[in-house]
Subunit: 364 residues, 2 copies
């Protein structure tokens, strides 16, 4: 066989997530409600759909490797310079590049126990040592993360705000204090995939001259374009420029570039989507309540429904839902695994969830 | 600043290619003929365009991270098992993963001097030591590559067949002998991006049980879907499975998956495209001949036009064409840099080339 690097030879052949399609193949039937992957069922802006459909015939051309137009539009939107933005193949792709730039075998990285598995996948993939900090009251424990980063001299500390899988959020003041206390030479990766779902005023002001932090954003959530694979990072221009040293320059789909550009222009669709997500969150809360279950207050496009017992019990509830063709997921680590995670669905999705939940609870 | 790895800190901030869009921005005007990036101007199958346009509204969903349907279709097409195929974000993306799996700082990699820059970019990006072998008679020098691989105990030897940027091809018998002589523990990466453009009978039979070789294929060339970023690798299942350890599992565009699947079904469009490429190659040869220039016989979707003097002269010809709004590229290393590389264009593209070439030659 080819001589794999020692690092790769030692990696497990695990995947960060099993997709719903793979589950459907195993089950031999389709899901009726796809509310497990925090996708945005309300879909992209019609303008984005139109732009993508129009660009289909142009896909014989490579996309612009510099993502120039999209970066200009993003810079305008955020009031920053184009040198402070890099576009990549989703936050997943950008996290992979970022970890590659900073982490070599033995380097320390800090994250919350039970936070985003794909980030952990990348850290393991470059040989980093992951140090984890438990959640506190279903929130990522910001200052414990920072303290751990100082203790182990971490190169990266990862924080999702709003958090996934719990949906909880820290206010801008907390983020500001986190930035001010993050150890020198440790980069705070603030994953803000779900920030657009959060209440107004949730954004910590962007300061792209700040070398201590990089912000991750995406078109996969409120923009409703998960399948298009468009994410971006905002940071200091030296950090942003370094992505060019290693990224797959021609890695972006041309159709996705066109779609993202059009999606950015449709602020009304975005506002409507946020309202629909809010509404769906409320509905999930009502459904949970009518089954005697509380929910974790969420600032994201999903809600963690507290099944009230342990992880084994919640897993049985989850399996009962899956059996009834409702695709949902759940946190993996106690005590958060007492919950199941339900993405904001259409009214029809949530009615199916509403119908399936009582029986799933009974069986569990 | 964040603490970059030593490797990344030492990488140059170069890019493998400047895209035509960046050139257009610098020039302040558009190209009239885009025949420089070996894109396929004849475009994707109408069925693929339709499938992509249809999928645009579904792009709120992540694509299947296992690329299951596409891999099944590819396995059927090639008469191999699904375990022998991995789909990725273009050959560029797959080459990056492959290099990452095998190469760590100081490991040796062999390629031809002047061959595909993006492969070299990945090798440098993982700290590999690139050893190069000159072309021989405008062909990649297969057995010199193999000998060099043995000499330096390379982990990877890269061969494009048909070659890029010259378009020359080695017959299956030569590929067979290359495989039989490649040193144990050295992987032969056979980049067959352009193979579908080559005459019938050019394919060395696939043997996915052979651990010495991995074959790279793409939808970017004859399928006319460069902007969709869909490539695949065929190899031994142990190698193929290893991609799962590190690849960006949710990296594929859902629209691209749908497009590739539909494109595969339209064999007639593929045959028509190959005929149009053949025709365009002949036209480029005629245009060159009528300016007193020979061409390098090509099995790809482009033709290296021999400007007959040195690289400096050819570069002036190239600049004359670019000035006249014809986007072309050229080889970067002597003596191949005596040529300019012209992609198969539409009749309209090639007429523009025909009109611009005499003046470009005069000025040069």
């Amino acid at each position: 066989m080819p001589r794999f690097t020692e690092l790769v030879a030692g990696l497990p052949a695990t995947v960060p997530f099993v997709g719903p399609e793979a589950q459907e193949r195993t089950r031999g039937k389709s899901f009726k409600a796809r509310i497990g992957a925090n996708e945005n069922v309300f879909g992209p802006s019609p303008r984005a759909v139109e732009a993508m459909a129009r660009e289909a015939a142009e896909t014989w051309q490579y996309g612009d490797p510099e993502n120039h137009e999209l970066k200009i539009a993003l810079a305008l939107l955020h009031g920053i310079a184009v040198e402070n933005v890099v576009v990549g193949e989703g936050i997943d792709g950008l996290l992979g590049y970022l970890v590659r730039m900073l982490i070599e075998p033995g380097d320390k990285v800090v994250t919350s126990l039970g936070a985003y598995p794909t980030f952990n996948f990348h850290v393991a993939g470059f040989g980093g040592d992951l140090e984890t900090v438990p959640y506190m009251d279903d929130h990522e424990d910001v200052f414990a993360l920072i303290a751990k980063a100082a203790e182990v001299r971490a190169k990266i500390v990862y924080l999702a705000n709003p958090d996934n899988p719990m949906g909880t959020i820290h206010p801008p003041s907390t983020i500001g204090r986190a930035i001010d206390t993050v150890p020198g030479n440790c980069l705070l990766v603030l994953d803000e995939a779900y920030l657009d779902c959060a209440p107004a005023g949730s954004e910590y002001p962007l300061d792209p001259d700040d070398k201590r932090i990089v912000r991750m954003r995406t078109f996969s959530k409120v923009y409703g374009m998960a399948g298009a694979r468009v994410g971006y990072a905002i940071g200091h221009q030296e950090l942003i420029r370094s992505f060019d040293k290693i990224r797959n320059h021609f890695g972006m789909s041309r159709i996705s570039q066109a779609g993202a550009l059009a999606a950015l222009e449709d602020r009304q669709h975005l506002a409507n989507t946020v309202a629909r997500i809010e509404n769906a969150r409320r509905r999930i809360g009502e459904i949970a309540a009518s089954n005697g279950l509380p929910v974790v207050p969420s600032a994201a496009n999903f809600v963690a429904v507290d099944c009230g017992r342990d992880g084994e019990y919640a897993r049985r509830v989850l399996e009962g839902l899956i059996k009834r063709d409702i695709f949902v997921r759940m946190p993996l680590v106690p005590p958060q695994d007492r919950c199941i995670r339900v993405s904001a669905g259409t009214e029809s999705d949530l009615r199916l969830f509403e119908q399936a939940l009582p029986a799933a609870l009974r069986e569990a």
